[in-house]
Amino acid sequence: MQQEIRIGVIALTDSAPFVVAQKTGFFEAENLTVELVKQASWATLRDKLAYGEIDAAHMLSPMAIALQLGLGGSPKKDVLAPLVLNRSGNAITVSKALAALISGLVEGETLGSALRAAKSRGERVMVFGTVFPFSMHTLQLRRWLRLNDVDPDQDVRFEVVPPIRMVGSLQAGLIDAFCVGEPYNSLAVNEGLGTIVATSNGLWPKAPEKVLGCTRAWAQENPEAMTGLTNALRRACLWLEGGMENRSKAAAWLSTSDHVNLPGSVLEMALLATIKGGTDPFIQFDGAELTEDQRPMFESLVVETHALTSSRPLDAIQFASGLKPFGF
């Protein structure tokens, strides 16, 4: 018997595992009839999952923690995130002006000290674009800022900008830098608007970028569908790691209007291209089961996600609860 399930996705390159599982029949092979439902925002995807309008979702990994702990106005729900769909894949791009400021720093000066000096002169505070408050993008920007002696809570401002508007916002001067997945970093560089200063893999090797998310209640009521879903997506991730031909096919599927709706050439750039002299494609799909050796990485993820909304340290109960979605 085929079971019908609805999966919420955001129209991004890394929604590829869902589209691939659909197009290759991996879902069907698991007796699943899947409807991929494009969501207009991360907030809406989260709410629809929390209240059962969708059964599973393409989710930012920090969002699973925000849901589990009810952070930042998020609904509080027991969730599961059994699969990391892709790892890393983001980069930080700064405007030409900010790049010039960084390269002009003199001995003893840091980006942080320069920004604080500018602030005390009454100059405008720099704005950093991210895709959602609870995202790897935000956490990666904060890591990069700290490495450059910048206090992410005091010295700069964060603004949420949908990926598709990142390059335009940088050009219009609405933001001074951004962290986003490909192809938007490369596009900004190609158009002479920005400089890539860091890749997510450099800041946080193998960072869990997007996960499969569902509520624990749904998983418990639908154990077979849950197993089928993880099997199909794991196969799709392996397929995406199975060579350039597969990636090209995925780019074509994604480029249609019911998915990402961007030209195939742009998606090929995102799925096939390397970045900053690398040899492997920038975006890496995963889908493997989470193993105990990854616990420290997820512990950092919980701590850094919690710190987005509170300057107080995380208590032991919250810490343990934050790890639960990932099975630790």
């Binding site: 925002s41 930042g72 509080k76 895709v131």
Partner: protein, 207 residues
């Protein structure tokens, strides 16, 4: 100002900001909220500069169409409460999950100023949910009428083809299609579509 619904005079009316790309729906909701005695700060048809707008107008509650892509920008204000004079948080009334679930189903999302009493906010969310539902019902009704009209046009076209090429009168043409539809277990409009396709294939489609 006395709130006609509660009869209480003490508390000032709430300032509501409405963000909806459907001007018709927004107008209906605005009317309903005004009638209920709430102060409407403003109505935005696009979420452009939404964050700026919220910072300046400081509404007590923001009602947003759930499918607005700019919801994520508001979420940012919820998290970065330290940097905002009057942070907004998502309305997640834990005492009344039903209200939230029905809001999401109806396509309503709401943000409230931090510290707002949920009892004051809940009625506004409920009014919004009711109006959104009403609007959706109207839209469905309109779509149904449009579909029926389109069906009627196809059936008439197929009838016309049968009358012209098979020398049927109108009644005979209709009954022939009706019979075919029953035999094939089809809707009449689908049979009409098939009839048109067949004649077009034969080159007789141009009436």
């Amino acid at each position: 100002m006395v709130n006609s619904k509660t009869g209480k005079a003490a508390t000032p009316p709430l300032k509501v900001l409405l963000v909806d790309e459907e001007p018709g729906r927004a107008a209906i909701l605005e009317r309903a909220l005004l009638d209920a005695g709430y102060v409407l700060v403003s109505r935005l048809s696009s979420a452009d500069r939404l964050v700026e707008h919220v910072a300046v107008s400081q509404p007590d509650i923001v009602i947003v169409d759930i499918d607005s892509p700019d919801r994520d920008c508001l979420e940012n204000m919820a998290v970065l409460s330290r940097s905002n004079p009057k942070p907004v948080i998502m309305f997640s009334d834990e005492d009344n999950e039903e209200t939230i679930a029905s809001a999401i189903k109806a396509g309503v999302s709401a943000y409230v100023a931090d510290g707002m009493n949920p009892d004051r906010v809940r009625p506004i969310v409920q009014v919004a949910v009711a109006r959104f539902r009403e609007f959706q019902a109207l839209k469905n009704e309109l779509q149904k009428t449009r579909d029926q009209l389109a069906d009627r046009k196809l059936i008439d076209k197929a009838k016309g083809l049968l009358m012209k090429h098979r020398n049927f009168n109108e009644d005979e043409a209709y009954h022939a299609m009706r019979k075919l539809a029953m035999e094939r277990n089809q809707r009449l409009v689908d049979t009409a579509r098939n009839v048109i396709e067949v004649f077009e294939m034969l080159g007789g489609g141009g009436l």
